[in-house]
Structure formats: C-alpha cells, structure tokens
Symmetry: C2
Subunit: 156 residues, 2 copies
DNA sequence: CGCTTGCTTGGAGTGCACTCCAACTCTCTA
DNA sequence: TAGAGAGTTGGAGTGCACTCCAAGCAAGCG
C-alpha cells in the first residue's frame, strides 16, 4: 500500500464492489478504472467545468490522460472526489481543501498536520450542528405560533 | 419619560456600551427603545454597512429616524435582527429572508404562507443536520486512521 | 468528405453577501 | 471657531465558488 493509496482512498475498494446490488451513491459507470470526464460528471454530480477547475486550483491529484490528451479518471480519483464532496457539504472552504490536498501530495510526514486539520474541522462541524439544533428550536417555536393561529381561525 | 430627539443626541452613544460585562445574547445597550446604529453594531455583531444594506434590500421593517435623519432602532428591530441572525446561521438565502419580511409587512393574512416558508426551511435544516452528522462519521474514521498511525510511530 | 459529439484550453462572467469609498451633514468638546 | 467623531448616501469593489464562452482538436458515422 502506497502513500497515495491510503491518503486519497476514502472508503472501501470501490471497483471490486461491482457485485453490490444498487450502490445508492456515486455509481461507478463501468467496472474499470479509466473514466471520461462525462462519466465522472454522471457519477459525482459535479459539472465538467467544476472538475477541470478543481484540477487547475490543485484540488485534484494528477489526473491521467488518454493518448489524445483527454482526462481519464481512476477509481482513486473518484474516491478523492467523494471525500471532497463530503468536506464541501460541511462548508469547508475550497482553500482549506486545497491545503489538505497539498499535505496529501507532500507525503506521509504530513500525517500530524492532516490529523490536526481534520480535527479542527470536526470541531467546526460539531459547533455548526449545535448551532443548527438551536435554531431548530426557534423555528419550532415560531411555527407553533403560526399553527396555533391557523387552528384557531379554522375553529372559528 | 418623554424621549425627545435632543435627549438622545446628547447621550454619548458608545459610552454605555463599553461597560458591558459580557452578557451571552445581544445585550441591549440601554434599557430604552431608540438605539443608534453603532449601538446595534455592538449588540448584534453585524457591521453598520450590513445594517444599512439590509434596509436597502427590504430585509428590515421601516427603521425610525431622528430629527437629523439618523437611524434609531427599536427593541422590535433588535428582535427582528435576532431572528434574521438565526435564519442566516442556518444558511437561509437573503432573498428568502426578504420574502419572509415582505410577508410580515403584508399583515396577518400571510400567516399560512409564513408557516409554510418556515416549515420548508425547517425541513432543510433537518436535512443539513443529518448531512453534517454523516460527514462527522467519515471525519471520525479518517482521524482515527491518522491517530493510529501517530500512535504506531510513537511506539516505534 | 462533412457532420456530430465529446473533449480541450485560458480567460471572462455570474451570483451571493457583503464591504468599502468619497463626499457630505450634524453635534459635541476644547 | 476648529476639529473630532458619529452618522448619511449611491455606487463601486471584494472574495468565494463556480459557470460559461469561443475556438479548436479528435473520433466515429453515412
């Protein structure tokens, strides 16, 4: 297992799992390992623009090319995009994700830095969850008021 | 107590605020009902720019003015800004908040619309909490991997 | 051969939510 | 009376995360 294997791979070995009945998230278009950009668009929901932009800003490991210069994404790339998608969902700024990608490229000696970055982000996510739950209570309260008013007017 | 404009003009605006110990939520600078923009800045954490911008885009009810044309915010305005702040924390787009503000201005007959808007938003918030919790699990998993590596190297 | 489809590029444009600027007025204090 | 300091305005600028564009290349098909 190489450095990049462990680093860019988010979850299970994905290509091997073709027997899986209906993977809900990110169906891998073929069982193979060289996907065109449009296949990746279909698999990830990102636009081709965004995929190329991610590459330009250094958010992707080097994507392989066909003999005609077209991108060929590997399963590892897809796994990486999976992680990026999760981090993005949590509102991590792209700049931070780029930083993380740089750490991954730099090699195993950045493990502590990566752990720290993710731990800090986890704290952030926890804080946000708490925040959202607090707001949920306020929302409930206001909705109750409107619902009470509605029930009162329906009775009348 | 009759609150005249000149009475407020002579009151040093910031003086009252500097003493404030650190009440958790939105300390109301004076016990009164006509706050200057800088008092509202101190109370809400929003910038004066943002407060004026909120007004321009229709996110505020009409803010009262002093005889010299300066804004004087009421406690009701502060309460409204409080709600806006909560909604903003949950990532509600400003356009939606403006829509809600319009409904409020339109009167009580918009109660059902308001209830619907808030209910839809609550669903959104719930979805986001679930999303964040899902990501938390992935974060935990990756942090574990790095932590294991660190402990292994510390033992070695 | 021409046509369509899919991909390539750098750079420009978009939408959101602020954020700042220049030029001005008003009031208070020295 | 001069200057500091808080406030006013419309419009321009900023940063982020895309999103689109124009021009061009390569492969497959009739």
């Amino acid at each position: 297992m190489t450095v990049t294997d462990s680093a860019y791979a988010t979850t299970a070995p994905a290509a091997a799992v073709t027997t899986c009945a209906q993977p809900l998230v990110h169906p891998r278009p073929t069982g193979q390992d060289r996907y065109t950009i449009s296949e990746v668009v279909a698999a990830t929901g990102l636009s081709a623009h965004t995929l190329r932009w991610y590459e330009r800003i250094g958010l992707m490991p080097h994507v392989d090319r066909s003999h005609t210069g077209q991108r060929r994404y590997s399963n590892r790339d897809l796994n990486w995009l999976d992680l990026v998608g999760k981090l993005r969902l949590t509102g991590m700024p792209v700049a931070d994700m780029v930083h993380y990608a740089e750490l991954v490229r730099a090699g195993e000696h950045t493990f502590p830095d990566r752990e720290e970055l993710l731990t800090a982000h986890r704290e952030d996510v926890r804080r946000r969850i708490a925040e959202l739950q607090g707001t949920l209570a306020i929302l409930d309260h206001k909705i109750d008021i409107y619902a009470d008013a509605r029930r009162a007017s329906e009775r009348a």
